[in-house]
């Protein structure tokens, strides 16, 4: 609660001059994903029903110091390319489910910033950080300035993909996707779980997707789950979409031993899955957290761990995540900080 009250939103950019950075507090709560010196792909799903106060897991939807800037970046992407938002026609119930999930969560967890008043179906929503004050009738599309899911989708951080459940499968039939790691909502809309899910090396052979799909088909309302995934990005760019690959592709080869610490960012995705009640769809949120190698290295434990994970990384995974060009530079940059002492298990910074 204190954390929420003190939320100060930064003015910063995720493109052009890249003024994005993390405060000391934001680094401290960064969801560092490596508990061990070796990384293996796994599904590692856990319950998403609250976490330590102040952590990114505390609330269903995390709001942090980058909230206003991230929403502004999303608006820029959508203005440029409206197809980053897609909702197939049979998803209207899911759109309203999302309105409820977002507004209920934010107003309950961040009462200083967001306020929701309900009088039956007459809802009044106030989003102070973004300066939005909207009265509308829940269930009546015509009372909102745009589609319901787009309306709330523009007011949360991270990408949201809504999966319709039918024929014992999940279909990516709706989404607002402006900060993705190299996949396209416009292209992937309507795909089934296996068509759409990033083909991860080694994972298919292990039957991971079959098990994950089965698990998700049984996901229950009221029992959301989460997992972490990670990759690396050059520059603190949210929109590393295939659509804009011509814009960010050249960055990949701009890394040098001199700039690697500031330019290369660990990008951790907090993926949370919620069953939606009216539509029986599943909301899949992919919230990216970015921290530069130098920001992470303010904690010696993380510097050592990151170096070891990257050193031990399976070449297929390195290639798949697109790290080949600069991985060795990151390892070399961190080498002086790694004295080789054994690190205890766990992701904590100190």
């Amino acid at each position: 609660m204190n954390m929420a009250k003190n939320l100060a939103f930064k003015q910063e950019t995720f493109r052009d001059d890249y003024t994005y950075s993390n405060s000391a507090e934001a680094i401290r709560r960064f969801p560092f994903p490596f508990a061990e010196d070796e990384y293996m792909y796994s599904v590692n799903i856990e319950q998403h029903n609250g976490g330590a106060p102040g952590s990114v897991f505390e609330h269903a939807i995390d709001v942090d110091e980058h909230y206003v800037a991230e929403c502004a970046d999303r608006a820029l992407v959508l203005e440029d390319d409206p197809l980053r938002y897609i909702a197939l026609p049979h998803m209207m119930d899911a759109q309203w489910d999302m309105v409820e999930l977002v507004m209920d969560s934010l107003s309950t967890d961040y009462p200083e910033q967001f306020k929701l008043t309900k009088d039956g179906d007459n809802w009044h929503w106030i989003n102070k950080p973004l300066g939005i004050d909207q009265k509308f009738v829940f269930g009546d599309e015509s009372t909102l300035p745009m589609q319901p899911f787009e309306f709330v989708g523009r007011q949360v951080q991270g990408d949201w993909i809504i999966l319709d459940q039918r024929d014992d499968d999940l279909f990516a039939d709706m989404g607002i996707v402006t900060s993705q790691a190299d996949w396209s909502m416009a292209f992937d809309a309507g795909m089934s779980f296996k068509e759409w899910h990033g083909p991860v090396p080694q994972a298919n052979e292990l039957g991971i997707f079959d098990r994950a799909l089965k698990y998700l088909l049984h996901l229950q309302y009221g029992s959301p789950v989460r997992r972490l995934n990670w990759t690396m990005t050059v520059n603190p760019r949210l929109d590393t979409s295939p659509e804009n690959y011509p814009l960010w592709g050249p960055d990949n080869v701009s890394v040098t031993p001199e700039n690697v610490g500031d330019k290369v960012h660990l990008r951790v995705e907090l993926q949370a899955l919620f069953r939606l009640p009216r539509s029986n769809a599943i909301a899949f949120s992919v919230r990216g957290y970015l921290a530069s190698v130098n920001e992470l290295a303010t904690y010696p434990r993380w510097a050592k761990r990151l170096r070891r994970v990257l050193t031990n990384l399976h070449p297929d995974l390195s290639e798949y995540k697109g790290l080949d060009f600069y991985r060795q530079m990151v390892i070399d940059h961190l080498a002086p900080m790694d004295d080789g002492t054994e690190l205890e298990l766990g992701t904590h910074p100190e």
Binding site: H90, M91, D93, E100, D164, Q165, R166, D167, K214, H218, Q220, Y221, G222, S223, P277, R278, S279, N280
Partner: protein, 317 residues
Amino acid sequence: MSVLNVKVAEVEQVTEVVKHFTLVQENGEPLPRFSGGSHVVVSMDINGRIHRNPYSLMGSTANTDSYHISVRKQENSRGGSVYMHEQVKPGSTLQITYPTNLFAISKLGRRHILIAGGIGITPFMSQISDLNRLGYDYELHYAYRSPEHAAFREQLQEMCGDRVHFYVDSEDERLDIPDLLSHQPLGTHVYICGPVPMVKALHLHAKNLGWPDNHVHSEEFTAPPSGDEFTVELALSGMEVTVPGDMSMLEAMEEAGAEPPFLCRGGACGRCELEVVSCDGVIMHNDHYLSDHEKAEGRSIMPCVSRAKCSKLVVNL
């Protein structure tokens, strides 16, 4: 698994054998929203033994001040429905799971044919509230034994208008499934909930008429059949559990303190699937989840309804 503590607000004798229970949350708050076709699992403490039965939610999906379930009294059952009929009164408290939907309307369908036999009408009552709200094209065909067994007939007439058709067995009214299926436009989906022979007949006729599998939906909850006593060894925890003849394997493991996963408890969803390490007899598969091939292989078991005729079954739990 999240549970809800509810209180029985009202009990209505609908027919001689069907009771309708109105449940409200004990803390006075509205219950969670749900989608048409969902069910909850009700826990009952019967003489110190926990029984858990799935029941479809039948109320309107728009109003979650209360949940509505209906229970048909099964005289030969293991006691769950008898307990609901004889022990559960207004004011009684129960524990239920959050709603789960294994019987959802396919949103890509252009027309929906709902077929109910007897107490199988219950999941359709919440589905119809969704279909009406969404303005989808549908028809309900409801067959029951005799006029005394016409549960919810008036309510259905009110909800469905001329979309509902009744078939009273004792008056020689029969639903002609092949005829019904033979003149449906493209994009039609059919849904059935009722006695096993009726469900099997629908699947057979639909297949013969060339309906794709994924246009035919059924919901069948099986009550766990009784059988012989056997022993289960849980390989991972090293626990050994005796499953008495009148208890399901899942219930026996729960009573012994294990926490196996479950969802529908009727052999429909597959959530409780356990890997079989070894079995020195035969597995009696009673679920609707595993394919015939998988059942023959014997590498998995659904402990909610299936059991074994053996001295020892070892599972990976």
